[in-house]
């Protein structure tokens, strides 16, 4: 158990590698109740939140969800979050480390336009893996045909839950929001399924890294724009044309004229991992970037990393050097994700 964003959380149960592999072959259950859940209400909470994020929310169909970011005036990322359209309100899930700041930011900036209702008495669990659907369907048959990135209210083993088909592993899976009082019973019911094992922070990190997914505070932060972070896919044509989100002119300029640096996948050549803050140099030893997340990928069977490199060095296959313990290690730019996403296609 380690302290994480003010909570005591398990790094592992059986072992990071075992849990990681189980997530890609069967299903694992993460307790992610540390994350911040909230509802945004009002006459038009979608239009209101669009003033703070570049995601398309006003035209997000009811029951569907989007990955987006809170931005500052320089186009830097304050946090990444999931926004789900419920018609009369939006359901938000934000990172634990940022939740107080995020809620203050949203509540403060949208005062008079929309109302934020925090949901501190709800737990959140993530069931992830190719067996997640059949495991959850054994307790909630209604989940089986849910599209990826959608939400449904349903009873899971008789417990009323809000279930989204989404996750942070690259696999099919569900995130289940449940009242605190029923969380333990729900977790136990899910863990009772023969294909489900518990998993901790360690495998959560190795899974999302292999899947090329960003970790706020490491791969994205207030100094990175969505253009630099290779997250422009989250900004629709309408939002780009309207250019009505914070930092829009800076971001759109980077899209038009190139950003000074870009987030890329990095594959070290040997077996040694290269971790966050490792300097990246070119063949002459000139620093051209930095690793922001790095470790060992159990599914890949070797080290994997993500980081930022300056323009001109971003093409997959570009040779890089990583300064690990004072020595230059060969590496190359790799396409993300390292492991193919296997989201449910219906």
């Amino acid at each position: 158990m380690v302290p994480f964003a003010g909570y005591e959380m398990p790094v592992q149960y059986e072992g990071i590698i075992a849990e990681h592999q189980h997530a890609r072959t069967h299903a694992v259950l993460f307790d992610v109740s540390h994350m911040g859940q909230a509802r945004l209400l009002g006459d038009d909470p979608s239009r209101a939140l669009e003033t703070l994020v570049p995601g398309a929310l006003a035209d997000l169909p009811e029951g569907r969800m989007r990955y987006t970011m809170l931005l500052n005036d320089k186009g830097g990322i304050l946090d990444d979050l999931m926004v789900t359209q419920r018609g009369d309100h939006l359901f938000l899930v934000v990172n634990a480390a940022c939740k107080e700041a995020d809620f203050a930011h949203i509540g403060g900036n949208l005062a008079g336009k929309a109302e934020l209702e925090l949901l501190p008495n709800r737990a959140l669990m993530a069931l992830q893996g190719p067996a997640a659907a059949r495991a959850l369907a054994s307790l909630a048959p209604d989940c089986a045909d849910m599209p990826f990135m959608s939400i449904r209210s349903m009873k899971v083993n008789g417990i009323g839950c809000e279930v989204t088909r989404s996750g942070y592993t690259g696999e099919d899976g569900f995130e289940i929001s449940v009242p605190n009082a029923e969380a333990e019973a729900l977790a136990q019911a899910l863990l009772d399924h023969p294909e489900v094992k518990p998993a901790g922070l360690g495998s959560r990190d190795s899974l999302r890294l292999e899947a090329g997914l960003c970790l706020y505070g490491s791969d994205i932060d207030e100094t990175t724009t969505p253009a630099e972070a290779a997250l422009m896919w989250t900004i629709s044509k309408r939002r780009r044309e309207e250019a009505n989100f914070p930092g829009a002119s800076i971001i759109l300029d980077q899209v038009a004229n190139g950003a000074p640096r870009k987030r890329v996948g990095i594959k070290p050549e040997g077996k040694a991992p290269a971790r966050a803050h490792t300097e990246i140099t070119d063949a002459d030893g000139t620093v051209i970037g930095e690793i922001t997340s790095g470790g060992f990928g159990p599914s890949v069977g070797g080290p994997v990393a993500m980081g930022y490199v300056k323009t001109g060095f971003t093409a997959p296959g570009t040779a890089l050097q990583l300064m690990v313990r004072g020595k230059a290690m060969a590496a190359s730019v790799a396409k993300l994700p390292f492991t193919e996403h296997r989201y449910f296609k219906g």
């Binding site: 592992q12 072992g15 990071i16 075992a18 990190d205 991992p273 080290p303």
Partner: protein, 125 residues
């Protein structure tokens, strides 16, 4: 019959004549979790007692392994290059990391015997 001594940093050294075989203890491998890479010292390297001798990489982080005594590295366990997990499964036997020619046997006096090391483990667990 080899004598085994232990350090506070959870290394063990098994002494036979003037050769010490060094590894990390079972307690250490359990704390580290799954090991994915071991950076072993070069054969011929001169180490001082307490110098960084090797690096073990787990999924999450790198940790140093220190030389329990001064001396020259005479051999490394090549098996760990392809199978770092051997340190997890056989930390105190097949997962040995390197052998060292002990320069100053009196340095061994400062290390713990098995009973003292077990006492240390009781205190920290």
């Amino acid at each position: 019959m080899a004598t085994v001594k232990y350090t506070k940093e959870h290394e063990w050294v098994s002494i036979e004549g003037d050769t010490g075989t060094v590894g990390i203890t079972d307690h250490a491998q359990e704390q580290l979790g799954d090991l994915v890479f071991i950076e072993l010292p070069e054969v011929g390297k001169e180490l001082g007692q307490g110098d960084e001798a090797a690096v073990v990489e787990s999924v999450k982080a790198a940790s140093e392994v220190y030389a329990p005594v001064s001396g020259e590295v005479t051999e490394v366990n090549e098996a760990l290059n392809d199978n770092p997990a051997l340190v997890n499964s056989e930390a105190e036997t097949g997962g040995w990391m390197f052998k060292i020619k002990i320069a100053d046997p009196s340095q061994l006096d400062a290390l713990m015997d098995e009973a003292s090391y077990r006492e240390l483990l009781k205190e920290i667990d």
